[in-house]
């Protein structure tokens, strides 16, 4: 997503000769500074100025005035009349639509023409040079500091002297172009914003500033300590809770492992949710526990939200029965649960399944113990009375009296087949009445009570034919659940864990407009906006910024996050934070795991960008590079037609040749429209665009842009596909062009170089699925020896997902970037690149590249921008870009 420039900036930045002006505005100071000539910027203007010498001869009113952005020191100019002249504004926000100029002595008047300007003094001893940088694999981008020096001969230190704490004042840098008319604030491009972090020296000659690119507290951490005030009323905070932070929970932490009803779950869900997937709670005293330091999605047992305890004698998690705890509160301040009764369900999976041949053998019995819901043990019986018998062997029964008292037991089974009680029966414990009943082809769990008195070590499963015919039974998964009441006084040794859904979106996700809407707002019933569970990595990053770092909407590039949320709509994050983390470190990791960059853009806004394979070129948004996307060793000039290069136009099935030579926009338009009478062509020097108009009305005129020498791109059309002009209609070019300009972006002489970047790996492992209290528990691996045959192993972490698809996506992204070294080119260009941003996709054309890639490949090749260096002394921009 490239920066958007207003028409004036688009035009001026591409002119072969231009007058750039750099303005530096420092909040709270009475002067603004320029590098280059001094200049005035018109902030606002009108023709309705009102003064009243009787009421206040220093006050100036105008209904048309928007004075919220004025500062003391800005200049009010009244043009004509008795008050003609310039006045320094001393109270810029005297009232809405009113300012004060001390000692102005205005006479009474109405309908006065006025303007407010800000004067940028030519006193910067150096330009605000800085750079932006990121890695192709993503993470937190860096924005360098800026050093500025202001000569002090006229004692600018006097201006500072009135400010006790000049540090932390915001500094904004903007680019203007002097086109001979008034320089308007609306025609500026802010390219940097930071805060003054230090004055390394202030002497009689110079005032020097150090400016920090992050308008944030760099030392801030994410995570709030649990303190005594958080303890349950009339109780002290339990010792082990001191030093812990209030848990922060993202994603779906529900688990099926202790489910008693799991109708309709899929193999994928089973795989994702039979793991240990809980969040440790923090004891608050009197068996109250803090689930999170924020609101979570409304706790719903019916929806699968659960509470667990860790039984330290058993050494495993056990489910707290739904009626045995109460959610005390679930607000922005946190979610608190109370354990009412110490009663649990312990779940066990079989350690083996063995066929006990009766009449027919069960096949694939190992599939009953592989914890894979998609594989099955199966059998077919054919004659009435035939029985197929297998035994499930459970782990030893270790619920002793020290643990508690067993109160119930049951078997759960996921199965399907012909055991409908007419064709055949499937039953347990050698008891033909202990039936699993099938409605036919089943894909759900059924439950079967197990006698508490029966031995827990082995369970027999029998499939018996009742009628003539061939009948099947398929068993996909079985598990045993034992309910027990913990021995008295064991609660303290059974800490609680939360297995449910975490933080949800606030209202900030609603009603966001831009290039795209947010993936979690308006994406159907599962993504209604506010209240939707935050699992999308773009949502997670934005939530961390807003909910944990209190970043305001004004400092978030909403459009970029909207686009990123759609780019990442297949990724599912699920993690929790239970220890304080530096925010930069955390967001760097989250962004890297999401294959995205996060950086501070020129407007001091957090911006997230995901590199998506196959994305179009950025500036033009086109499949083929538009002129705006191209950086060219020898760029074309506007309106120059060269034989065999750009001298043809095809329309209505005929190719016409435009005479070579230099044109103006108007003469070139006339030449293009002069051939057959089928179309006319006009050019607007205001918009910089050409318009083609059908004048024959014969069913639409096809304009063929695909011919190699067509003029399409050179008059600003997107040539990714042909255009058709409907009868009596028009089409307008997509990209503006003006005379005396470069068509493509120029590459500065002798500035181009090429190198190869990065590491080479052939074996890629990503570890993922964080454990509730320990490290990562799963891994996914792939090898790629397409470019190198050696085994070169690399391992990375995805600390924020339990989803294999998400982990695979990160793994494959790393593989794409590291399975070989990629070419990286570095070159300088001019201020035409002022709108280029990190991760933009550009096209680079240079003889060196042509020699390596061939011209055809070079002309379509995508490069990803990784670094931008702005030099405001030489007015150039150095771009580092790597092969996409």
């Amino acid at each position: 997503m490239s920066g958007t420039l207003v028409t004036q900036l688009q035009k001026q930045s591409n002119l072969k000769g231009y007058k750039p002006r750099v303005g530096v505005f420092i909040e709270g100071m009475l002067a603004s500074y320029a590098f280059g000539d001094s200049f005035d910027v018109v902030l606002d203007s009108g023709t309705d100025g009102v003064t009243n010498s009787v009421a206040d001869d220093e006050r100036f009113d105008s209904a048309a005035m928007t004075n919220t952005g004025f500062i003391a020191g800005d200049i009010l100019s009244i043009i004509g009349g008795a008050n003609d002249g310039e006045y320094t504004i001393t109270a810029p926000q005297e009232a809405a639509n009113a300012i004060l100029c001390n000692s102005a002595g205005f006479t009474t008047g109405t309908g006065q023409t006025w303007k407010v300007t800000r004067r940028f003094l030519d006193t910067l001893s150096s330009g605000p040079n800085f750079n932006l940088m990121t890695k192709i694999t993503g993470g937190m981008g860096t924005l360098s500091n800026v050093q500025l020096g202001i000569p002090n001969q006229e004692l600018y230190s006097n201006i500072l002297a009135t400010y006790a704490n000049p540090e932390n004042m915001a500094l904004q840098c903007a680019l203007y172009f002097d086109d001979g008319s008034a320089i308007l604030d609306a025609e500026s491009h802010q390219f940097y914003e930071g805060i003054i972090s230090d004055f390394p020296s202030l002497n009689y000659k110079t005032v020097k500033f150090n400016v920090d690119g992050y308008d944030r507290s760099l030392n801030n951490v994410i995570g709030e300590l649990v303190e005594e005030a958080d303890a349950t009323a009339n109780y002290v905070l339990p010792d082990l809770s001191h030093g812990m932070i209030k848990p922060i929970i993202y994603g779906d932490r529900r688990s099926f492992r202790n489910a008693t009803s799991n109708v309709g779950i899929t193999a994928t869900e089973w795989d994702a949710n039979t793991d240990v997937n809980m969040v440790p709670c923090v004891a608050l005293g009197n068996d109250y526990w803090l689930i999170s330091g924020h609101a979570i999605k409304t706790f719903s047992a019916a929806a699968g939200d659960k509470m667990f305890a860790f039984d330290e004698i058993l050494g495993r998690y056990v489910e707290l029965l739904a009626g045995d705890f109460t959610i005390i509160s679930n607000t922005a301040s946190g979610c608190v649960v109370r354990r009412n009764t110490s009663r649990y369900v312990d779940t066990r999976y079989p350690v083996s399944a063995t066929d006990q041949f009766a009449d027919v053998s069960w096949a694939n019995t190992a599939n009953l113990v592989d914890n894979d819901i998609s594989t099955k043990a199966d059998v077919t019986i054919s004659n009435p009375g035939e029985i197929a018998h297998l035994d499930l062997v459970w782990p030893p029964d270790d619920i002793s009296a020290d643990v508690g008292t067993k109160t119930d037991a049951r078997i759960n089974v996921r199965c399907e087949g012909d055991f409908d009680g007419i064709s055949a029966n499937l039953y347990f414990e050698n008891d033909p009445t202990n039936l699993i009943v099938s409605g036919g082809a089943m894909t759900y769990f059924d439950t079967n009570n197990k006698s508490l008195g029966a031995a827990f070590d082995t369970t027999s499963v029998k499939f018996e034919s009742l009628a003539a015919g061939s009948f099947d039974a398929d068993l996909y998964a079985c598990y045993l659940q034992v309910q027990y009441t913990a021995a008295t006084g064991r609660e303290a040794a059974m800490p609680l864990f939360f297995g449910g859904r975490g933080r949800c979106y606030g209202t900030w996700v609603n009603s966001r407009t831009g290039t795209e809407t947010h993936a979690d707002n308006g994406g159907g019933s599962a993504h209604p906006g506010v209240g939707t569970l935050i699992e999308n990595p773009a949502g997670v990053v934005e939530s961390l910024l807003r909910d944990e770092l209190s970043v305001a909407t004004a400092n978030i590039n909403l459009d970029a996050f909207n686009v990123a949320s759609n780019d990442l709509s297949s990724d599912v994050d699920s993690f929790h934070i239970v220890e304080s983390l530096p925010w930069l470190e955390l967001l760097d990791e989250v962004a890297f795991s999401a294959k995205s960059i996060l950086h501070i853009d020129a407007d001091d806004k957090f911006k997230m960008v995901t590199l998506v394979t196959g994305n179009n070129f950025t500036a033009g948004g086109t499949v083929k590079p538009s002129s705006e996307d191209i950086f060219e060793f020898s760029p074309e000039n506007t309106f120059v037609i060269t034989t065999g290069f750009n001298d043809s136009i095809w329309y209505a099935g005929t190719e016409y040749t435009i005479s070579a030579g230099q044109y103006t926009g108007a003469t070139l338009a006339a030449a293009i429209g002069a051939f057959s009478g089928a179309i006319t062509c006009t050019y607007s020097s205001t918009t910089g665009k050409f318009t083609l108009t059908d004048v024959v009305g014969l069913g639409g005129v096809v304009i063929n842009w695909t011919n190699g020498t067509n003029v399409g791109r050179f008059i600003g059309f997107d040539i990714s596909a042909n255009d058709t002009i409907a009868d009596s209609s028009t089409i307008v070019s997509d990209f503006p062009l003006w005379a005396d300009s470069f068509v493509e972006n120029p590459i500065v002489e002798n500035s181009f170089s090429l190198r190869k970047e990065g590491d080479v790996m052939t074996d890629f492992t990503v570890e993922y699925a964080p454990d509730p209290t320990a490290g990562l528990t799963k891994s996914t691996n792939v090898t790629d020896t397409t470019y190198h045959s050696e085994s070169l192993k690399g391992s990375w972490e995805h600390n924020f997902t339990r989803d294999k698809t998400t982990a695979d996506s990160l793994r494959d992204n790393i593989k794409t970037r590291k399975n070989r070294k990629h070419f990286e080119c570095i070159f300088k260009t001019f201020l035409n690149a002022i709108n280029v941003e990190m991760f933009d996709i550009i096209n680079v054309r240079h003889p060196i590249l042509e020699g390596i890639f061939t011209e055809a490949t070079m002309n379509d090749k995508k490069w990803v921008v990784l670094k931008l260096v702005y030099n405001w002394k030489s007015f150039d921009v150095t771009i580092t870009a790597v092969e996409a």
Binding site: D37, F633, S634, P635, F742, P847
Partner: protein, 129 residues
């Protein structure tokens, strides 16, 4: 009609101060365009015009009287001029007036030469507004 150059600052000592002689040949008036020139690989140029050109007026007059030297020093030292701090008007031999500022930024040195006379060396810079 060619006349000697004049320094003028209303209210300042000895203003207007007419130079006793014309500037010595060659009379230089160097002009420094404030432009940054860039070239593309293909040789096309891109010009950044960062401001008005700087024009300088080196004043070279040899063998002037002590009286004029003293008058000139008094003019430059007057608080209304105060050397480089404030601008004054330089009217050249063709009667063209320029707003200028003393640009001999470090040292003013009018060496004495034979005959109790003095050589004048000054650099003036046309003010950019």
């Amino acid at each position: 009609m060619s006349t000697n150059a004049i320094f003028t600052k209303v209210g300042a000592a000895n203003s207007p101060l007419t130079l006793p002689k014309g500037r010595f040949y060659p009379v230089n008036e160097p002009l420094s365009p404030r432009q940054i020139i860039g070239k593309t690989g293909g040789g096309q140029v891109k010009i950044a015009d960062v401001g008005d050109p700087e024009q300088f007026f080196p004043i070279v007059i040899n063998r002037v009287s002590k009286t004029f030297r003293d008058n000139l020093l008094a003019f430059l030292a007057d608080s209304l001029v105060n050397y480089s701090q404030n601008t004054f008007t330089f009217t050249d031999e063709e009667s063209t007036a320029y707003t200028v500022r003393l640009w001999s930024t470090r040292t003013i040195d009018f060496p004495a030469v034979k005959g109790s006379l003095y050589n004048i060396r000054l650099v003036l810079r046309k003010e950019i507004t």
